[in-house]
Amino acid sequence: MITPGLLYLSGALLLFLPITNRIKYIMSFLITAGALIVTFYLIPGYSLELDFLKYTLVPFKVDNISKLTGLIFAVGGMAAVIYSINLCSLSNLRLIFVFIGSALTVVFAGDLFTLYVFWELMTISSSFIIIMASDVTKKTGYFYFLVQLVGGLSLLWGIFLQYSATGNLSLHAIEAGLPFFMIAIAIKLAFVGFHTWLPLVYSKAPFYVAVVLSIYTTKVGVYVMFRLLSGINILAYAGLISALFGVVMALRQKQVLRLLSYSIIIQVGYMIMGISIGTEEGTTGAIFHLVNHILYKTVLFMAVGVVIYTTGKDSFENLGVMGRKLPLTSIATLVAFLGIAGVPFFNGYMSKTIIKDALHEPLLKWGLDLMSFGTSLIFLKFIYYAFFKKSTINIDKKPAISMQFGLGFLTVFMIVIGINPFLLENLTTINLGINYFDKKHLLSGIQPFLWSIAAFILLKKYVVKNYQRLLYYDGYRKMAKLFVATGYKLSNYHDGKLNRYLVWATSTLIVLLLLLMF
């Protein structure tokens, strides 16, 4: 059976052949569409076994949730590849294929070994996408790779602890090494304290890279958290804290891409909360939210990308071109905005409702409302700049057809899900029994949005104000300095004096003798 991940990975290999542009387009389209179709026709319950080293691995295992996640990943992959096919170099296209392929494999992984291998492959390929993308992203890529590697290694260590405690590598409840799994996922999810890579990468890297990365990186973290760590109630508060932090930070940004990246942190907060509740309602809500989030956040990134492509910068002022010159982009942006704000009849509303229903503690419910309020406030700023504020900036060039095509493709999905929220439930054959369009849900869904409009109008000058950059404590830099200084000191001991080396050697002999004798 052909797995969608394998399809993408072999696509990356096929791109090594000497090909012309036209073949490149056709091949990319065939692969992405093929992966989507293959994923759509996967039968839940199917699994594949493989003997590797002395383990029996399950590199491919389908169930409802993984199928849904795989589907949205495939849709996002198709949109992203179409969107960026004209922008990126061939080598980066290969890397993007590897990246999407390994993300899809992680989703269908049935054991920890496969999970780890493709998790790490995602890290490698995404780092190289960033490093190869442009000249200003070298250091960013370096930092990103190191941070992600820490996550990957702590996942690996967790896997080892789990393996030595239970003796198998199956992908079920974690019994040992929980903190290490948590660190791994926290880094992938850009949890507060581990979040610095996310705004840095998404704002520095070229926009098409940000589009591709934003679809998979954090979402894979969410999916793996769902697989491994669901039902740890205390994490719901952590998700809340992370999201509120995201709100505060997002409000202070000057760059649109940074704002979008902090808003990812907020959205991931919803998913963390849903997963930590652990009930079927909660986890399903989280996964549905993942689907919705991929749709609207990708559209937003793509729209900002169009703005950057046409005007060359991503400051708020430049967003102004959207309302006047880019009709399709502005429609898509509006749909995405209403979705992310959780307005009824748009796609974000349904998953937020499910998560809210799943929560029972009043504090968390309140927090959720606050988060929704914050989200809409942030995006009101976005919309304000895009449509209401006068700007004089003109577009330099027309957006490419492929970009608009990718954008429109996802917008259609958003509208469909918004109008028919039961679509996802039907697709996964899960019945949650929530009536999305009764009065109670509608009211509680629309409330934060209305409040935020009021707040925006009242506090406009604070929200729209340009904040200075915060001075914050960068622990990673300190650690790096310590690392380099230690190495420098050690290196200074190697001053070329042979006598010194010989004395080291003889001392070692004596120490060895002493150790062995006593």
Partner: protein, 111 residues
Amino acid sequence: MVIPYVVVIILFSLGIYTVISKKNLIKMVIGFTIVESSLILLLILIGYKPSGTAPILDRQYEIVVDPIPQALALTTIIIGGSVTAVMLALVIKIYKRYGTLNVDELRKLRG
């Protein structure tokens, strides 16, 4: 029978001391030859049997010393000699290049 061994140990330690503490390259090489000599002495000692004769059996002898250590000693001498020769060649080269025999001035490689 212990005293010859003590001599071997003293020689060995002296050689090692010379190698690790002397600054002059030639002296370091001499240290190695001292170590080598002590090892050859050790080889001869362990093959020794009281009132034994050399292992050349052109007549009948009661006690013959162990021939293996002697063969090993020969090998050791050859190897030690070769190593010393190579070391000396390098010392000559170094003297030509650096103009000194002080080991502390061989410091182009560091870090």
